[in-house]
């Protein structure tokens, strides 16, 4: 029996350079960064002072006041993006078997905003005075649960937490649920809301954040010789991933097909990637093989490319290992140059980029790529978007702890 196939029929996205697919995608094509100086808390004690904050997100446009209070910001992003995605999909939940619909979402950190607030409150008033919403707001699986509660989804309900790869792993796991017949539709993606004083400080302590604070939009410079770390960001994206026949039967618009998923580990270090990139190559290779395409069949790579010295060099090596001579021909872009690094949301935000690249046959740029790095010598679509044939796309995400996940999206031919 042929394997069940899965297609993307709806998308919702909240990123620092655009809310909603339309604004987000045009920002990407225009090379518009959403990185700005942090104003939400004092950064004077830190070397890094920029972030990809989503300043114009109004949760009350998506949730009533009571629900907004009961959910932390990462879940706000999840529910809001899921509403946008559902609307885009045209799926009528009233006429669906909700037991066949699930929510599988990635989050690296969970509800760290409320967690931090309540720890401070606990010190001030005593830990016997904690808010009863502590656990319901903080727990990482709040986001998949709240998306499920909001839409009445009765199928698989789980959160995947693999740091910077969470969103990509979640989407890959959703693909498997559909392929294995455990669900017909999955609301899947990733969210993160890490912009708190403590969490920002914690990333700063690892010395992985860019210190290039002025101007902020120049801070995130993947593959550039002068890159000096990533820019912490927040946001989320949710896809409606649907079994292909199910989507065809209802005449849904199909953005792209999700055809491949590959995972690997470097077993190298909890922070640092394996400098050979061999572990990333294995994940890329497995995803491409799962999609039943040859490396020559890949038209575009959305790289993990955080703009740390180590990641971008290792990823470049990994791409060369998989693609051989073709590595120099396939366009690669690092959209984190514009969105910053939204940790568990990153892979999901980039999945939206991949689907739109396929739909519009356009490749977004890597901005701030001004000075080539001898170690990063591939075609990174520097600074300006490019039209091109985009039939098959590889999306890379590599999390702290060498948790690697890759997805392959393909143009869907009816």
């Amino acid at each position: 029996m042929d394997r069940r196939r899965a297609v993307v029929t709806g998308m919702g996205v909240i990123a620092c350079n655009g809310i909603g697919v339309k604004d987000f995608w045009s920002a990407n094509l225009a090379g518009k960064s959403g990185v700005k100086a942090v104003t939400a808390f004092d950064t004077s004690m830190f070397t890094a002072r920029t972030a990809g904050s989503v300043d114009d997100f109004d949760v009350l446009g998506f949730l009533d006041k009571r629900d907004a209070r009961r959910l932390d910001r990462f879940s706000h992003f999840g529910v809001a993006a899921s509403k946008m995605a559902l609307e885009d999909s045209g799926l009528d939940l009233e006429s669906e078997d909700r037991e066949r619909i699930g929510s599988i979402i990635g989050s690296g950190l969970g509800g760290v905003i409320f967690h931090e607030e309540q720890i401070l409150a606990g010190y001030e008033k005593g830990v016997h005075r904690l808010n009863p919403l502590c656990v319901p707001r903080i727990t990482p699986n709040a986001v998949s649960a709240q998306v499920g509660i909001y839409h009445g989804l009765l199928g698989p309900n789980m959160v995947v937490s693999t740091a910077c790869a969470s969103g990509t792993h979640a989407i890959g796991e959703a693909l498997r649920k559909i392929q294995y017949g455990e669900a017909d539709v999955v609301f899947t993606g990733g969210v993160e809301a890490p912009l708190t004083h403590f969490t920002f400080g914690a990333y700063c302590a690892m010395k992985v954040l860019s210190k290039r604070n002025d101007p902020p939009e120049k801070a995130s410079r993947p593959f550039d010789r002068d890159r000096d770390g990533f820019v912490l960001a927040e946001g989320g994206a949710v896809l409606i991933l649907e079994e292909r026949e199910h989507a065809l039967r209802r005449g849904a618009h199909i953005h792209a097909e999700l055809t491949g998923y590959g995972l690997s580990s470097g077993a190298y270090n909890i922070v640092i990637p394996d400098p050979t990139g061999h572990d990333t190559a294995r994940a890329m290779h497995l995803a491409i093989r799962d999609a039943a395409v040859a490396p020559d069949g890949v038209d575009y790579i959305n790289a993990h490319a955080t703009a740390t010295g180590a990641n971008d060099a290792a990823e470049t090596k990994g791409i060369k290992e998989v693609f051989g001579d073709r590595a120099w021909q396939v366009p690669i872009s690092a959209t984190k140059s514009m969105t910053g690094h939204a940790i568990g949301a990153a892979g999901a935000i980039e999945a939206v980029v991949c689907c739109m690249a396929i739909q519009d046959q356009m490749i977004p740029p890597t901005i701030n790529l001004d000075t080539p790095d001898p170690e990063c010598d591939l075609d990174y679509v520097a600074n300006v978007a490019r039209a091109g044939k985009v039939g098959v796309v590889l999306s890379n995400s590599f999390g702290f702890g060498n948790a690697n996940a890759c997805l392959v999206f393909a143009r869907h031919a009816t």
């Binding site: 006041k65 629900d67 209070r69 005075r129 009863p132 919403l133």
Partner: protein, 82 residues
Amino acid sequence: MPGDPVFDRVESLLTENLAVAREKIRPEADFRHDLGLDSFGAVELGFAVEEEFAIEVTDEEMASITTVGDLVEAVRKKLPSD
């Protein structure tokens, strides 16, 4: 009792924090049966009342409070008299 300052503050907690419709909030309204508060809603209400009035309400006291009027009375007894 509407117009009473304690009642008004309790009414605000119920509408703001627990999304109870204002017109349902009367002194005789039962939290569970008339206002639809579930067991966790009661926990949230207890916490909100403690924060709003800077008082402590024990679990036993909370268990004996079934109506809005009960709650207003219990709060009033705990407030320092002026």
